[in-house]
Amino acid sequence: MTALDQASVLHMRNISKSFAGIRALNNVDFNVRGGEIHALLGANGAGKSTLMKILSGAYESDEGAIEVAGNVCVFRSPADSKRAGIHCVYQEVDTSLVGHLSVAENIFLDRLAASGQKLWLRWGEIYEEAGRLLKRIGLTLSPRTLVRDLTLSEKQLVLIARLYAEKAKFVILDEPTAPLSLEEADKLFGIMEELKAAGIGVIFISHRLPEVFRICDRITVMRDGERVLTENKTDIDVSGVVRAMLGRSFEEEYPKLETTRGEPVLEVRGLESGRRVRGVDLDVRRGEIVAVVGLVGAGKTELSRVLFGADQADKGTVSVAGKPADLSSPAGAVKSGIALVPEERRKEGILVRESVLHNLSAPLLKTVSRFGFLSGKGERGYADKQITDLGIKTPAVTQITAYLSGGNQQKVAIGKWIGTEADVYLFDEPTKGVDVGAKSDIFRIIGRLAQEGKGILYLTCEFAEALGLADRILVMCDGAIVKSFNRGEATQEELLYYASAGREEFA
Amino acid sequence: ACGQKEESNAGSSSPASQSPSETAPESASAEPSPSADIEALKGKRIALVMRFNTGTFSAQYVDGVKKQAAKYGGEVTVLASENDLAKMAANLDSAVNQKFDGILVDHGDVGALTNGLNKAKEAGIPIVAFDSGLNDFEGITNLAQNDQLLAEYTLEKLAEEAGGKGNIVKVWVAGFPPMESRQIAYKAFTEKYTDIKEIAAFGDATNPQLDTQNRMEAVLKQYPNKGDITAVWAAWDEFAKGASNAIKQAGRDEIKVYGIDLSDEDLKMIQDPASPWVASAAVDPTSIGTVQVRYLYQKFHGDETDAVVQLEPVFVHRDSLPADKVIATDELSQYVDGWGSSDLGNTDYLTALEQSTGAQ
């Protein structure tokens, strides 16, 4: 390393951190150089976010030191870290956005927060500059829109726009691509390249290994709170990384379990809701996994919400197992035999302030109770089973869900529905933020559900998953189903072609 | 109507001594058209600006005002202030803005009302106040119940029945002008009867009855033996009710309660032989209202009225009440001198007005 390099290196030495006696980080040593993109990888709960929160000043480490350009820094608050030029896009987007304020204000949140600036604000300028930044990252939104009206991916992009508004030396991106479509992720990679070219060090966390290998210069892998390796990208391959992450060799696969297909269990005819669901017809048979793929904003989430009674349909009929479904409310949908694992887990999927136990049993309180009285044993037994099956990493079943890592929260959101006696399962992007090992676990569970004769509707923008998992793939574009493929018929390119309504650039 | 003025002045201080037959011709001779004079007094719009407005006492007082005004063909608007002097000041302003013919003030306060009263005076609106301490205010007739005397009556009776010695509990709270006046009498009482010891004192105006009941229970437990406590002096009937309940429910029938103020509800408790509340001193709330309206009508009539009219308190003891039947305050005059029957402030032309309105 030359002296010049040394001047632009950020070094975290011997970092340790415990939560309530449980060690999350153990003696971690980690460095990033200016002008590189450094991937930080690891299974769910490995400690990536915790390490980054220490770097950004959100947490204080128990032991260890941080050096920026050779100087030891003490970060007691995010403000200290920001002053040292370190900016972070957190995994839980809602923790860093203010819902009832405009997009513009959220973009300039750090600047509004900074001290030593002018007291008076000029709204005209703020909106104008925000508009410019939004255009730069390719978001067509009015800067006056309230953030609470945005979709998850739009919120993520607002946070990325915030990076442009700041003068950073190091940038942390904690799973920014999880809620993004491939198209949006591509835009993000362009931004990362720009940052890199400007001499900024970028730390990038992701569970999508292909993109990691596409964009990164160096890779660090963590396992169980320890750093297990740091290598140049060129010196390692995907299977090596996965082995380091999981501690065993592992082949990413789509376990295809044999099922027998039965009669149609979900029949949707002429479903309409607003502009996002337009005349959808579809069938799912017992034992069948049907994937709905589409680009961001195609209306997948909206479709799943309407099918679950969370939003109201304007028109159309839905029947489950031959009987018309009651979609006036989620409670009605559940009664009709439908379950939904929603996309936005922190807001909709889990109760962050409740324990893992209470989360897992929430939809089946009736099953685990008798004459209205809860059976502690039944509830616990069910929870323990889900924790084992899904590999939920939690110190105790009574742990508050907010303190779980992002991926483990997602697993809780899935686990709570597995035990219900639903006929139809709707999964809206269930693998976002889930590590490769756990992803396979989820696929296996979905396969098992199909084997039990359930109908599965799997909504995703990851075409590879759809291709690997589904018996049938429906392509959604602008709220309508535009194409249907049977297993083995489609390729990624074809899916993309139809999903983008045959636009030239994707063809 | 100058002769009239003198007459009614005299009448206000000693109404009983006056016979209607003496004044009637005089007023007739002074006024060429007495019926026109009376007609002019009809249809008056009166504002009643009150500071307190809950409880039976207030309700009876308002009743007294309204009934009397109705007898004269007037109409009363109540502007209630929920014990908020700022609101009371605003209410007074509002009454002036609405150009009422006359304003009655209940439990006011000089500081809070001075501005509004001046405005009313400028607008030529006559004012009669009750218990408001507006004695220095020119042109206003002030009805006052003598709070020190109220306290003295009950305390003296307490001392007498206790034989000049014993342990007493005081339930009192500061912050309200009448309460503070009663405290002056209490202080004099403790200096006079050095053998009477105050062993506990409390009081809370936010939840007077229940809080007193709870605290009285604590005191009873603290002094568990008969004879530990001789009596309770409650400076407000709400307190007396709570203390009586506690004592009655604890079965400590040797303790007597002396209170101040008297509503129908209180009277019923005093008559109950099982209740420890034996005596109270009060001015009849209904007659306060009645007298206040009469003075206002004197002002309408153009009479020169006294600056201060003292309402003499009445002392009511269980011994003077009938044991065989339950009576209400409107029958109390049959048993207790000076109660309710007050003719204070009445004049011939008011009687005539009453008759003329009643005839319509």
Partner: protein, 329 residues
């Protein structure tokens, strides 16, 4: 050692604190810790405890019911008029105010669940309305046996003896309201801890949207919570009437703050940091003990509030200093 002691003092800190307060009063006054005085204290808090259980329920679904005080006032005068004005049999006397309380709860629920007015706003408005109703109903008069009516006649009824027993009687030497209160506390605790519906309420309170998407009928649950809050307040009102033997205007007004204080102290008990029935009960006990003990000590009445507030702060601090330390630690 230190590590094991800390969580202990943390979890039981508030209870230990209440214990110390009781110990203090017991040492300063020999009559404080007597059976009679303790049952008196419990009886004195029984009304507030009922109201506070209602508040706890509304807080459990992440609502807040500001109308409970007004509901107490309304139900206490309704109870009294049932006897005094209409001479109804005991069962009607008891059922009508409960129904009235439930109706107030339904009105709250309508505004909050249907029209979606935020809970604090809606219940504040309902508080004004109910306050107005109960005063209009009685024309501002308190209600007592054989009261003179505004039209000059005399009310036909008196407060029923058996009714008064509810608030003043004893069963096996224990004041009846205390028995009622303990039953309610245990019942509500069991409800929240061991029944499906109680759990559903807690989940709804945690995150309404997530609860809805878990298939819970959140509207029905919230409605039920407000109705329960109204009914518990109404029970408080009934007890109030039977304890003091009349129906006082505005009797419930101070109950709001008192019950809220009890519920909040309850947050500290067992370091729950959230509404819980057992905590609420101990909160009410602390407040009752303070009023009783301070009266016995004959401290100047005007300093009571100050001491009450300081004790409240201490009780809360015991928990939250730790809760805070644990979170960031």
């Amino acid at each position: 050692m230190k590590n094991r002691l800390l969580p202990f003092t943390f979890k039981y800190g508030a209870l230990i604190f209440i214990g110390l307060v009781i110990l203090f009063f017991s040492l300063t006054n020999e009559y404080f810790f007597t059976y009679n005085n303790i049952t008196d204290i419990l009886r004195s808090i029984s009304i507030v405890t009922f109201v506070a259980i209602g508040v706890t329920i509304s807080l459990a679904v992440d609502g807040f019911d500001l109308s409970v005080g007004a509901t107490v006032s309304l139900s206490t005068v309704v109870t009294a008029t049932m006897m005094v004005w209409y001479e109804m049999p005991l069962v009607v006397v008891l059922v009508v105010p409960l129904v009235v309380g439930a109706l107030v709860g339904l009105l709250n629920a309508l505004l909050i669940v249907k029209i979606r007015i935020p809970d604090l706003l809606a219940t504040l408005a309902v508080m004004y309305i109910v306050n107005g109703i109960h005063k209009t109903y009685t024309k501002g008069y308190s209600i007592y046996g054989n009261m003179p009516m505004p039209d000059g006649s005399t009310a036909p009824g008196v407060m029923d003896k058996s009714f008064l027993w509810i608030g003043q009687g004893k069963l096996l030497g224990v004041p009846f309201p205390v028995i009622l209160m303990l039953l309610a506390v245990v019942g509500a605790h069991v409800f929240f801890k061991y029944t499906r519906w109680g759990r559903q309420m807690i989940i709804t309170g945690g995150n309404e949207e997530a609860a809805r998407l878990s298939g819970l009928k959140v509207k029905r649950i919230r409605t039920f919570a407000y109705v329960a809050s109204g009914v518990f307040a109404a029970i408080g009102g009934i007890l109030f009437a039977s304890r003091i033997g009349s129906g006082q205007i505005d009797a419930g007004a101070p109950m709001l703050m008192e019950s809220v204080a009890a519920v909040f102290v309850g947050y500290s008990v067992f370091a729950a940091g959230r509404p819980n029935v057992v905590g609420t009960f101990f909160g009410a006990v602390l407040m009752g003990v303070l009023v009783n003990g301070l009266t016995m000590m004959n401290v100047q009445y005007y300093t009571n509030d100050m001491i009450k507030g300081a004790v409240l702060v201490l009780a809360l601090a015991v928990t939250f200093i730790h809760l805070n330390r644990r979170k960031t630690g």
